[in-house]
Symmetry: D3
Subunit: 266 residues, 6 copies
Amino acid sequence: MLNKLLITGADGKLGSVCRSRLHGLATTIRLGAREDVGPAGANEEIMYCDLGDKDAVEAMVEGCDGIVHMGGQSIEAPWETIKQSNIDGVFNLYEAARKSSVTPRIFFASSNHAIGFHEQTTRLDANAQVRPDGLYGVSKVFGEALARLYFEKFGIETALVRIGSSFPEPKNHRMLATWLSYDDLISLIESVFTIPRLGCPIVYGASNNDASWWDNRETSFLGWKPKDNSETFRARIDAECTPPAKDEVSAVYQGGEFCGQGILEE
Amino acid sequence: MLNKLLITGADGKLGSVCRSRLHGLATTIRLGAREDVGPAGANEEIMYCDLGDKDAVEAMVEGCDGIVHMGGQSIEAPWETIKQSNIDGVFNLYEAARKSSVTPRIFFASSNHAIGFHEQTTRLDANAQVRPDGLYGVSKVFGEALARLYFEKFGIETALVRIGSSFPEPKNHRMLATWLSYDDLISLIESVFTIPRLGCPIVYGASNNDASWWDNRETSFLGWKPKDNSETFRARIDAECTPPAKDEVSAVYQGGEFCGQGILEE
Amino acid sequence: MLNKLLITGADGKLGSVCRSRLHGLATTIRLGAREDVGPAGANEEIMYCDLGDKDAVEAMVEGCDGIVHMGGQSIEAPWETIKQSNIDGVFNLYEAARKSSVTPRIFFASSNHAIGFHEQTTRLDANAQVRPDGLYGVSKVFGEALARLYFEKFGIETALVRIGSSFPEPKNHRMLATWLSYDDLISLIESVFTIPRLGCPIVYGASNNDASWWDNRETSFLGWKPKDNSETFRARIDAECTPPAKDEVSAVYQGGEFCGQGILEE
Amino acid sequence: MLNKLLITGADGKLGSVCRSRLHGLATTIRLGAREDVGPAGANEEIMYCDLGDKDAVEAMVEGCDGIVHMGGQSIEAPWETIKQSNIDGVFNLYEAARKSSVTPRIFFASSNHAIGFHEQTTRLDANAQVRPDGLYGVSKVFGEALARLYFEKFGIETALVRIGSSFPEPKNHRMLATWLSYDDLISLIESVFTIPRLGCPIVYGASNNDASWWDNRETSFLGWKPKDNSETFRARIDAECTPPAKDEVSAVYQGGEFCGQGILEE
Amino acid sequence: MLNKLLITGADGKLGSVCRSRLHGLATTIRLGAREDVGPAGANEEIMYCDLGDKDAVEAMVEGCDGIVHMGGQSIEAPWETIKQSNIDGVFNLYEAARKSSVTPRIFFASSNHAIGFHEQTTRLDANAQVRPDGLYGVSKVFGEALARLYFEKFGIETALVRIGSSFPEPKNHRMLATWLSYDDLISLIESVFTIPRLGCPIVYGASNNDASWWDNRETSFLGWKPKDNSETFRARIDAECTPPAKDEVSAVYQGGEFCGQGILEE
Amino acid sequence: MLNKLLITGADGKLGSVCRSRLHGLATTIRLGAREDVGPAGANEEIMYCDLGDKDAVEAMVEGCDGIVHMGGQSIEAPWETIKQSNIDGVFNLYEAARKSSVTPRIFFASSNHAIGFHEQTTRLDANAQVRPDGLYGVSKVFGEALARLYFEKFGIETALVRIGSSFPEPKNHRMLATWLSYDDLISLIESVFTIPRLGCPIVYGASNNDASWWDNRETSFLGWKPKDNSETFRARIDAECTPPAKDEVSAVYQGGEFCGQGILEE
């Protein structure tokens, strides 16, 4: 059991899921957030922090032996936004981890958008080449590389989790392959923090969906077996959504609509 | 949902299974057959056609947006028979598809006999080298290659399904590995026609049997999860069939008895 | 069904499990042992034999059409001990098999310690390089190589089963990945002796554990599907055992504590 | 040294190169041709034969212990032409080989057009999936599959040589990668007929060009080392040919212009 | 032949080598530099520019159909330095390329330090996982990912060249494997700009050294054959340099001394 | 440069080649031999020793920082002979190395007979499965595994060199693929002892022959480039030797005649 687990982005969607579900993992949960997260609950402490602020990040990280990094920008945005949160912010996080009095283990929320330009008819494993589908995806490649550096050089272990689409339910046909249920997200985080030795593996964050593009065979040592299956929702999705035509970007590429976007300008 | 689904070989074993089970896939089912298939049912239309007759094939294919190609010769035969049905016939089918006013998606009933000379102790995936075990198997390699050409050049999508042994129940020890239940065949056809983008994948058509030689990992994007398991029938097979000795052709090669046949002459 | 199945090491832990569970496989069970195994039961015959005694081994093997080789040294020991049981003993066994009036099929209890110096974060399949973690592991590499020779040269089929940790229950965190339940061990032996053609495959002997380092994909032709899952015991293990730190040998290497031992001297 | 070597297509370009260069391989050279090949030279015999004529092919093949099969259609053509020469013709050839009093070894002139729809930026080896770029390419896939069948079933060895562009000199930018000099073609044929055991390998027929898409690593056992290099001709080609734009079919696909052709009709 | 080739970092070591050797590739050479590069020669134009200055970069890139990007930080440095040159600077470069009236092809000087934490006893090809050995290496991973994005989304072709050690002569034992002679660097650049279709390949920039860690097999389509061999210099290096002990960082990792550095602070 | 290099088997064929060619590698050459090796030359010392004599082996190994292990049995022999030299003898050697006051680096003369049952039409690299072709081959697999253990556990580096056929000239058709010239053997030994970090790689010991079954790509870090080519001798071999028929053991398997031998009895 961890002593102090930091959840960054605690004011975001997945951050709040983690807040409500991970109390069993640590004596204290520290919530890192930019926006208001309400009052601290039992065994919670709150630290407001901008990831671009190096000193604040160091203070937030100090003393934590686990970090679930959900913070930062989680969709495509203009370069300055991406850079501040996901380039500088991640650098600040790893520097803080290196300087902390306790070496933390880290769950890094990477994204399928790091490999979004692979076609949906292709199966990927941890050895797949990166093919980011936007500046957001490029920033995740950066974060994965930085984490790998800090693992090799300083022994900081990170799970590089390329999250698919983590929502209460899949919302469209593409998500039949990419959906990650909250239960499966939580069980993955638990695996990451309870296995004796983690290393720095790339893991694809998707539930046990019938339709699948990603192969976690290389990380079976984690013992993570997702239980949910998007197939449960297929009838509803068929009823509510028009499936894309075969040449639409959301049917061709794993990254879906992201692959069709241009570079966003301020 | 398809507008008009053509089932070729509707007078054959698998063709009639399809006829009775695929009505949910299309507004109209067109039945292509050489022999009598009885009266047309609701939403059915019947077209008698020899696959070697180019004009008849064009008429049969015209207007269909889906084709389940079960027609042609399905076991070893003399060259002229194979050639007419499975060489000329398949060429006629793809030419008709190319010329049709509607570009159809095709389920092509290929066969494990395209790879039948691999040993049973070897696991194959979609990248395995072909090793046909007879003229029939060679004709299936031809069909797969032709389908690939029409995909690359004209965008006609085909699922190249190397069907194992599709029967109500497995009949002998070899079929413990090769059996494809009718339910699983039908669910595979449904996956092929409902996925937004198919491409031109090679799929092995076998149920979820404990004993397995084939790996569909590369086509998990289809979301097809066969549910039946030949293991259910093992006790009965053990009771009814003498297992082959270790050096008999039906124990050595994936294609079984086909590998022991000579070239059939007229 | 076999005529006569020899179980070597019948006085050992796994040997006695086999004795009590394999009567359905053969008309007669012959028990090979060094220590007392009590009185012969129905359809049992007992032959006391030291594996280092060539003539005794020939007598023990003669007439058997199946051998489950559980005999020999099963943990690290000084060289002379290892050599007598697992080098000379295995040579004697295969020579006896070659000379026997009946060519037996063999289940060879190899060990995960043949590949014990691979890291736990690495997934292995049958093509993995050997990395023995002690003299015991080296002797298992020797046995696998000898079995392969006798397969290629004399057609003697052997299943080279790299057994993980076969106990009634997993005993520590490492065994969450390596545990092989007795039920799954027995069902594997049954598969080995009932499949028409075995060849000389490498199989990893582990149950269907959530945490897994080993991939039996290449031997799916066996039809062996382990049913038990160490996960059932995780809570108890968490309660009873302190998990190793990330840099302890039992967290780093697949062979666990064996990797930390020196060469034992007499 | 062979007793009697048949060169089919002796009236064609590569056939006549073979005629003039292979006399050292066999006591007698038999020339198979449709068109006039002039008078027979020393140790030559001539047999006029249409590959679609089964009896004529049997007569032509009878008694030969080596066959260089250069005959048949060598560029894209309407289906009936392709079928007669490269489908029926190849079937007739292998049937004749099977029935011959002498089992011949065969050099089968397959073509890069069997894999022409792979991109030029991809490196292929003998395990590459076929991607034919026309009916001609499909017929070569057929021929390779048929040869494989006759190897597995009847022990007839064939070298499946996917010839690139065999001309005195490369003619355009694409041929910098695909060029096979006549010297290298001849030395390949010599290797095929002098190695004690050939099997049925796929070989890419290209010279030792700096620019290369094909990897013959898997067939290094042949000992064939092409000596010529298209680079010698680069300056001339740069001077004489406009290089294609990056999105022209001759710059995108290995099959070059073939990939841009439609289906030819009679 | 290019119309206008931009060489960034023209004031640096490799930039000046390019300046003096690439005049044959383009009608005009535009030199991008921060420091003084002397007077413009024939067919040269000079643009002083800081890569962190977006508008200046756009002006520098405008109108160029080729870019050799040697600019930016080329060794480890504090984060702010790396970020300005190699993160922001590269983003500015690709944005400028996207906005330019002419779509340029780009030679991107990536680095072996993107994969520096692989061991020297491991052979890498284009599919190797990144393992950067410092912030510099991480920035090169970023640049490669960004280039890939602009290729997939906007069709901008880039050669991602992981340069080893480009000096007039190798300087120490590690460089026997990593050395890239100036001649071979120049011939690689020429290949990149003359091949009709480039795509976005990863290429290892090392000469034809006997000792080699890197495999360019996947990019043989480029037709680049380095001619120089570090072996020529082995005697001198043996005389002048003490080889590292087997456990020194410069003998263990491909990145050499970089792997032993800490994070540099301002 | 080494201080003291031990050459075992100095009374054997390859041992004496080493004796006469390796003086440049070490200040002192220690010759280990069973039979008379004549008087010690300059900088030579001689130690007569039976590899089965543990104490003698310890004395022989003590103080050496390099070992070329050419000693032991080098062709098929009865089990007791193999066991004494190549099982016990190799164990004694590695134990001596472990106990020595100086940790030596070792060149272990393994053999192609460790993989002799692979077919000649198959290309092997360092990851190939072992397929020994006799007790001799099995003993080499044992030696490789033991060396790997002592590398992982005690840091003793060994080059596992699967020597093909090392003679002044190739003697038959098989040796066109397996020949290792003395010059190339010596240059390989030099590479092994001069590279700063060796690890424990598997290397195939064959010259730069046109015909090749083995791929040393994985060990290109050694910088070993064999220079000789058996092709030089092809004409002579063709003149002097009848090539084997395609189904003779010397044409089928890499191990050649060894594959056809039985188990030798005393």
